[in-house]
Chain length 414, copies 2
């Protein structure tokens, strides 16, 4: 392994930079210089442009160091306690206390970090904030966190999650009609770079968890980056990926529903009050996709997978529509078997009699849904139903779901 | 005018809510309850879930009050000075000092606010942060700000900018090939709800300013909301809106370029080093759009408009390709005439000899580019070239560009 490190390909950051210079000096066209000058003035006057203000140092954070560590910097001469909390270890969150330097900048350097997408936030005198020097954030339910990617070489996890110089697919927010739910609803559709409106492609349906929405897999799950990179490397076949909204009482992500900019709440969208469940209404999605995109309209070209609640949806879909899908991926799935339910037993019999090409169950050792998954696997074993099982470290976390997506995508349509 | 007020349709927030209750109690399915419980525990333990922690009050911010004011709340028992800075007045930023209550929550209430999309941030002991209780943020270059919308009734500006229960268009991030620039580049494409892959539509090309990218008009400019609402009300014709990246040395928004997660910088992307300018390479975009979408491929069905640098691009495009576009909108344009340049004079003669249906110049009274726009208008007047002029209050701000987009969209293709 090379000893150089890239935060997202930005490989020229070996030093812990903290320059008083506000802008790089380059020859620029006249009106751009005018714009720049006036914008800086406006931002400074408004208090909206802390990075352009002369009286405070321009802090860069995070900074990738040549030795594989990462340094965080935060300017606050009056704070008493500043720390950074991030998923720097394999499983649990780590809080690193920051140290104040003479110039008022708090700083801390991590141990050497493995290639990965990391999330973090700052704590300033007990209050949680995103890092003002890092404009890259992800929203998980109602909480924003900063992100950065550590990649050292082609083929590592960081490389898989970052944007590389490869052909890129299209990512679209699409509204579709759901007759079953009586709603116009929003989904995200990834079309591979090779999609030209003529050639037909297989479809993976990719379902989010409780508290998520149609943006979760794209933002937190890095779906388009993972798919672009796997396809470019020939590790998976070009496919369409459909990421619907899985909350039947809500038709779009926060801010995109006509109910307004409510505070997202993991418990807001249970199925009570909906005209139908996600599973019952699921064929509206498949029908829309088959009608509006160039899809291969047969079972062997359809896969469905999801995480947590979406793993539960995948489970329900598997025994409701065995004729529709050939590949199933249950990721950290909230998949509850219906013990002693004759109809359920019949549905499961019919599902496995149809010999799906893949029934894949993936979960982390520390996942709180392990018992539920053990119950499911015991049921499948008792009935001698064939499935694949993958267990790794960690719990109910996006880090695992990105791994499971990467694995599942390489297993299907081959 | 009704005296009730909605922040984005969330009309049930008449009280200044600050509840110690962490989750609404509703009957929920077993595994959802399990999920909820464990997720809260994980979040609390990790320091990533301040809203779920029992020991601190759950603060709601912002809160729309029945009297038309808005209240901000922020919990920090140890801070000395907390304030909120936002664009609460027509033109300038306003800083409102917040007052600490006994429970450690800082609070302040605005005067009555007009219907509008507002941006704000918090200042805590001199440091600028986004409001941790509000997960709605916009990025402008490298700075995140919170947003909220005030709307009182159908037809007001807030209503125009929010998501309403109307048919919605698709918003897609599309990669296209630019032979002139030798790059794969990213653009945003809005397809109206009526787009069905059969009927053909006119196209508006909508260009961002210096420091912006292909996400700016969608996020800061509320393009899809404005277009959905204007089309639903019959105020503009259904059209495709194309929002390309206008930086020839960069092919996508920060984080979507293979150069990584660099800190966005308004001065990063001048045209030096590019194979061609934005104007020179612009027909690559038109050709791609005409090839891949159902467009009406004639001059009377093409409009181009942009803000600031994008207004300059619009100007350059207007005299380079008079045969391609029939409608031009220069918004706060960095549009510099080439005094005494015979080729420029010839191009301008040819442009206006072609009688474009609309040549529209819009700028705010306080815009720092007013002199440049006056020079342009003097030139047009001297040559008796026909154009429309709109001047309003305010300066070089997104609030004006949303107004200009709304006006321009209603003037074209009719």
């Amino acid at each position: 392994m090379k000893r150089t490190m890239h935060i997202n390909g930005d490989s020229c950051q070996a030093e812990n930079t903290m320059s008083a210079k506000t802008w790089p000096i380059r020859p620029i066209r006249f009106w751009k210089r005018v714009l720049l000058f006036v914008c800086c003035g406006m931002m400074a006057a408004s208090g909206f442009g802390q990075q352009a203000l002369g009286q405070r140092p321009r802090v860069k954070s995070p900074v990738a160091n040549a030795d594989g560590t990462v340094t965080f910097n935060f300017f606050d001469p009056t704070a008493q306690n500043v720390s950074v909390t991030g998923d720097f270890q394999e499983i649990s969150w780590t809080t690193l206390p920051m140290t104040k330097q003479e110039n008022g900048v708090w700083t801390v350097t991590t141990p050497v970090l493995n290639p990965e997408l990391y999330s973090y936030s700052l704590s300033v005198d007990g209050q949680r904030f995103v890092d003002p020097a890092n404009s890259y954030v992800n929203r998980d339910i109602s909480t924003l966190s900063n992100i950065f990617i550590v990649s050292r070489e082609k083929g590592d996890k960081g490389h898989l999650y970052q944007v590389n110089d490869v052909p890129h697919g299209t990512l679209a927010r699409v509204w579709y009609d759901s007759p079953t739910l009586g709603q116009q609803r929003r989904m995200t559709v990834y079309l591979p770079a090779a999609y030209d409106g003529k050639k037909k492609f297989p479809v993976m349906y990719l379902l989010h968890g409780h508290g998520g929405d149609e943006t979760a897999w794209g933002d937190l799950g890095r779906t388009s980056q993972i798919m672009d990179n796997l396809i470019a490397e020939g590790k998976c076949v070009p496919m369409i990926v459909v990421m619907p909204n899985g909350n039947p009482t809500c038709n779009a992500a926060p801010g995109w529903w006509h109910e307004g900019m409510y505070t997202p709440n993991g418990n807001a969208f249970n199925e009570r009050g909906a005209k139908a469940s996600m599973e019952e209404s699921f064929m509206d999605i498949v029908n829309f996709v088959d009608k509006h995109y160039k899809t291969i309209r047969k079972r062997s070209a359809r896969a469905v997978t999801g995480l947590s609640m979406g793993g539960g949806h995948t489970f329900g879909i598997s025994y409701r529509y065995p004729e529709v899908f050939d590949y199933y991926g249950l990721q950290s799935a909230a998949a509850r078997i219906k013990k002693g339910d004759a109809q359920f037993d019949d549905q499961m019999t019919r599902l496995f009699a149809s010999s799906p090409r893949l029934y894949w169950i993936a979960i982390g050792k520390e996942d709180f849904l392990m018992r539920m998954n053990n119950d499911l696997r015991n049921y499948l074993d008792e009935h001698q139903y064939s499935y694949e099982y993958y267990e790794n470290d960690g719990g109910h976390i996006w880090r695992n779901w990105r791994i499971y997506l990467s694995m599942f995508a390489q297993k299907i349509f081959k």
